[in-house]
Symmetry: C2
Subunit: 432 residues, 2 copies
Amino acid sequence: MSCPFSGSRTGPTRRGLLVGAGGALASVGAGALARAATPAAQAPAALSEPFFGRHQGGIATRQQTHSYFAAFDCLAKTRDDLTGMLQLWTTAAARLCAGDTARDLGQDPSVEGPDGGSALGLSPSRLTITFGFGPGLFVKDGVDRYGLAARRPPALIDLPKFNGDQLEAQLTGGDLSVQACSDDPMAAFHAVRELARLSYGFAQFRWAQQGFLPDAPAAETARNLMGFKDGTNNPRGSATSPTPDSPRNFEEVVWVDEEGPDWMRGGSYVVARRIRISLEHWDRTEVDFQEQVVGRHKYSGAPIGKANERDSLGLDRLDGDGNPLIADNAHVRLGAAATNAGAQIFRRPYSYNDGIRFTAERWPPWRQGMMYDAGLFFLCYQRDPREGFVKIYENMAKLDALNQFTTHTGSGLFACPGGIGEGEFVGQKAFM
Amino acid sequence: MSCPFSGSRTGPTRRGLLVGAGGALASVGAGALARAATPAAQAPAALSEPFFGRHQGGIATRQQTHSYFAAFDCLAKTRDDLTGMLQLWTTAAARLCAGDTARDLGQDPSVEGPDGGSALGLSPSRLTITFGFGPGLFVKDGVDRYGLAARRPPALIDLPKFNGDQLEAQLTGGDLSVQACSDDPMAAFHAVRELARLSYGFAQFRWAQQGFLPDAPAAETARNLMGFKDGTNNPRGSATSPTPDSPRNFEEVVWVDEEGPDWMRGGSYVVARRIRISLEHWDRTEVDFQEQVVGRHKYSGAPIGKANERDSLGLDRLDGDGNPLIADNAHVRLGAAATNAGAQIFRRPYSYNDGIRFTAERWPPWRQGMMYDAGLFFLCYQRDPREGFVKIYENMAKLDALNQFTTHTGSGLFACPGGIGEGEFVGQKAFM
């Protein structure tokens, strides 16, 4: 593989930043000497998440407050180019998650290509980097570019078109995904950017999306831009305490086991949906109405008529007129495991805020103008999207009362390989 | 003023969130009872910044890690509508900065309009809200809409067109500005959104921009997306320690004094520039070259040939060939007070990251494709932009070597009135 930067790359075990260079630089002049005053930061252990292990980071990891998700089109011409790039990515990602630069800063400033430096001196702030393989990596336009066609898992489907989809091509799909999550937005963006630099000529950005969470207490379910708590009924073991409406455990819902190919064991499938929310519309509705739409009380997060967030939904409860207390088209009913023959997903969403754009809106009174391009960057993990997101959302896309406020403008499905062992690169077993 | 929400608004001194409602709700049913379980958060003092005082917050305030800046077009038809809106904004802003909701949550969920709730339970995380008046508030298209024409300060100029400007109308100008800064991105966005809701019919978004800073130690100058420290030579008193190249104090540079009208005393002028950076281009250049362009060493932040960030620039130093050690077109030289007859500004910039967009680029080899829409949301404060930003940037726009990497796509100039006293609304003296 002829990577433009492989010449200046050092081995994956080399971690130290450039430190005082002493005599070796004596003849290089004042500039280089000054440059030697380089920050030498190694992250305190508590601020770094493990990179190697049975699972990739960023899935079971307690959700960080910032995310940068990028989808790439793969340009690599050969299988070796592709694996070479994945090796570079893996090495750099391990360094970044440990609080190091993506590549050695080097001592010769006339060489292009060391880490760009925008995260120098920062803690990784629990940085995780999660890689995914899209359908196009296996077969694209009918071509088996990398000899992987036979390795495509049946679960890595092409997502169907859902009712109401308004997907934009430039926000959809991709052969590879890289998500960096961190409690520092700079650390997350820096990580993706450095990996993108390592892939020049072999992969290029297709789309990218920043996201954030409120800095809420760890024990509390974070609220989204609709002002409601989001994630209460996640699988057991992923939240502070279980709810009666989440029948299954995180491990069972999320991780691919023996049903998957070797390289996916301990991995998961991520569905990404960029969901613009008509905040202007939502903000003009009454709290009462909002609660009917969601099926929960806004402030407490409790199911309609209940007192506590983690109370059972009680979907069969009727009001005095014999109507369901939680409406047939309420979001929480349509998403519940009980409504979907037990199907569950693990939601790990971020809010996003891309400013104000000219938008034509579909809600009445129909209008167009400068509106928020903000909403939910929905991410969910499951061991089989056919039995997870697709099963749940096909119905919701048609019936959910929330749909009048939401527009899905971007989408992707990626197979996130199992965890990476030291010395391996991500997804290595798929190439064996 | 007929504000759609003034009916449900309570006085500015009322701060408590909805707490247990007891007997008053006994007949309202289970839903309302459940709703009474409302988070009752009051921010710890250390996490809130003062709202009232001699200056508006968000200028001298130690920079928070997140910013949401919005420019509004004013639609108010009468002077009373405008002042009524500013009163609503002021009241809500004071509540938000104290960690409260923008408006009372109310007890009747069938009334539209309480705070939207997306920051419920969060700390304000040092939230500040800074208001500004644009030229259009005084005279627009030759019309003196609010009887303010005579109050327009000479310093509130129409910014000239600068060399290289590629301003987009939908990212430029505005009659009013609102910037929320917080260490929590949700708190910042929530604040602007709630103020926007209070102004329905009286002001509408023109443009908005999120921004972030790395979570760097408070004593260190934060790096921008170019990997360089940004802000070293800010006025004395605004950084950890003074530099020899910053001759004047923060107070002297920033705050309008007797030269300004009453309502601007203790205020300042903010220039906002949305500067896209060709990160793809920058990332392909050598560190050596980057340092020549900036005039500083990348890792240490020291002037070329010096050892420490805060060393004097030594602009008159020559190399062995008699050429300036810091190049004539180096960014740091062109921005220095010494180069600009002592002119100084206070920079309070944020990085921004708006994803990947199709962009035509001007750097060689010329190309177009999916590129970062990311860079610097440059904000600077000064007591007179004619003697500050305009004076400094007119020259830089023509000569700065950094310009080959930067494109100014948005711009605004706003007069930020002096601090607000309790019982006043922002800029009140301009209406007296």
